[in-house]
Amino acid sequence: MSKSLLYDSTLCIGCKQCEQACATQNNLPYNDSIAEEEFQSAHKLTTVLTRNDKFMRRLCMHCGDPACASVCPVGAFHKTKEGPVVYDVWKCIGCRYCMAACPFSQPKYEWGSLNPRVRKCIMCPDRVTAGKQTACAEICPTGATKFGERDDLVREAQDRLRQNPSNYLPRIYGLHEVGGTSILILAAVKPEEFGYPPSEKLGETPLPEYTGRVMERVPDFIPVWSLVLGGIYWISHRRTEVAAAEAAEKKNGGTR
């Protein structure tokens, strides 16, 4: 079954303990100046943004059919059956196609490193496979970030929307975006105002399908096109051969 995180921004108090727990979990530095950085980077995999007393968390969305995994030429990313989209650094060649392709621009790069890695939230895969919740969900004092089965969390989000319709915008961001993600967001203000891409731009089609439509034709295209090219080659050369033979025949007076 697939694990997910439900982030309810109306419950968030902006304490940033999730940021700290995330840094500790991923062996990254964390201090006051990093806490103030309101953007993600290779050393800050999740961030809590503040706009007019409203909060919004950003992190990798762990798409159901992730673009990063589909584009990586060496398959360094994959979606585990438990839900997290994880990264195998030893495969990575550093082409950064994952960064270019991610609709949420989540993979970040160690630009200063001589052996750089892509960094993003990997949803604590070791903890999740061990049956524990993610570090951020565990530490969250208000339950704004909640860990659980995706189906259960979707139901819970729908209940919250039904019970307190005045508190929320009537939608769950991540439920259908790019085919559905493992991060679900409830909010009173549009996530778009915090830099999330607009739902209507993302659409509900998993992004790998856009390339799949072309790539699935390649196996048929190769034999057909080779035959066509080979055929053209054969015909045009046969023509010269025949022309040469006919010319020779004429010269020899009809005998071959």
Partner: protein
Amino acid sequence: MKVRLTFWRVVFLAIMALGLYSTYVRYLRGLGAVSNMTDQFPWGFWIGFDCLCGVMLAAGGFCIVGAVYLFNVESLHSVVRPAVLTAFLGYLLFIVGLLFDLGRPWFIWHQLIYMNSHSVMFEVGFCVMTYTTVLFFEFLPNVLERLNWKAPVKWIHRIYPILIVLGILLSTLHQSSLGSLYLIMPSKLHPFWYSPALPFFFFGSAVAVGLAMTIFESTQSAKALGRHLELPVLVRLGGALLIALWVNALLRFEDYFHRGLLRQILRPSYEAYFLWLELSLSFVIPIALLSFKKVRLSPNGLYLASVISLFGFITNRLNVSLIGFETYVGHHYMPKWTEFSVTLMIIAMGFALFRVAVQYLPIFPKDDMVHVPSPAPLAVPMGQPVLEHAGN
């Protein structure tokens, strides 16, 4: 032998010196220090120019080989070798460029073992690798003939049909796939350049560029080496270029029409300015020029039209890879000087290697290499057959 210090040699040395400095920065201080790429702009000038434009500009190889060996256009025989040489060098330098751009270039061979067949990048990488090998074999007879090794040349002639078909197949695949790379970014790439037809555009423009590039390099090397200019060859290429440009232009028009963007592309905007620049350089001006018979029959006119269209298609690739993302990202990307200098160094290496190759290898027909003082530009030498037909 005394090497004279000419103007171009000084320029070359300066470019190489700056390039080597940038190489040092790249490998000892990292991608962040050498480039203006950021998390928002993970692909910069090296992808946009070195990779996308580099591969496109090397398309002459498969275009000319296809015309001559597939469709038996005998009159283009004399440009096969220079076109194959350009393509071979182009792909080698593309790989050099990739070694700068990849964050962990020492793992580039992972492509061969951790293959992800869903990835367009994998397809491109694999095709480029195999096609470079094919080009190596297409190029090899030059070296073997020079060394007077007859037997291996015969073997290569025997497999020539396979090389030709394989080369064109691989080129079709990866030239179009460079466009497919962007299919997964519908929400990021500006609608002027994001289209489901991207692979067709990339392949179509590669054919046009292949023709334009062959005109460019024939004229250029005729000038540089004091060779005769083979006007009938150029005229033929120019005619084909005109057709290729029309096909490309109609495809682009059809796409904008189909997606209902015609009104939007005419309205002034940041993206529209770049699109206008692109469309006028790649289509409007060269098509207008080539429509005059006078231009189509003059070496200067053909040269001018080709160079303008080359700039147009280079603008197209940079629009797709850089300009088209600026609205999504919310700020501009301007390459750092060190990025330019690496690219310049790679281009300079290309010119130098081409020069050395034509000097020492039988790239151009022999009787032609006698240094005739350049006036008499329109003399037409017989193009010697370059490679015997396989099986003969």
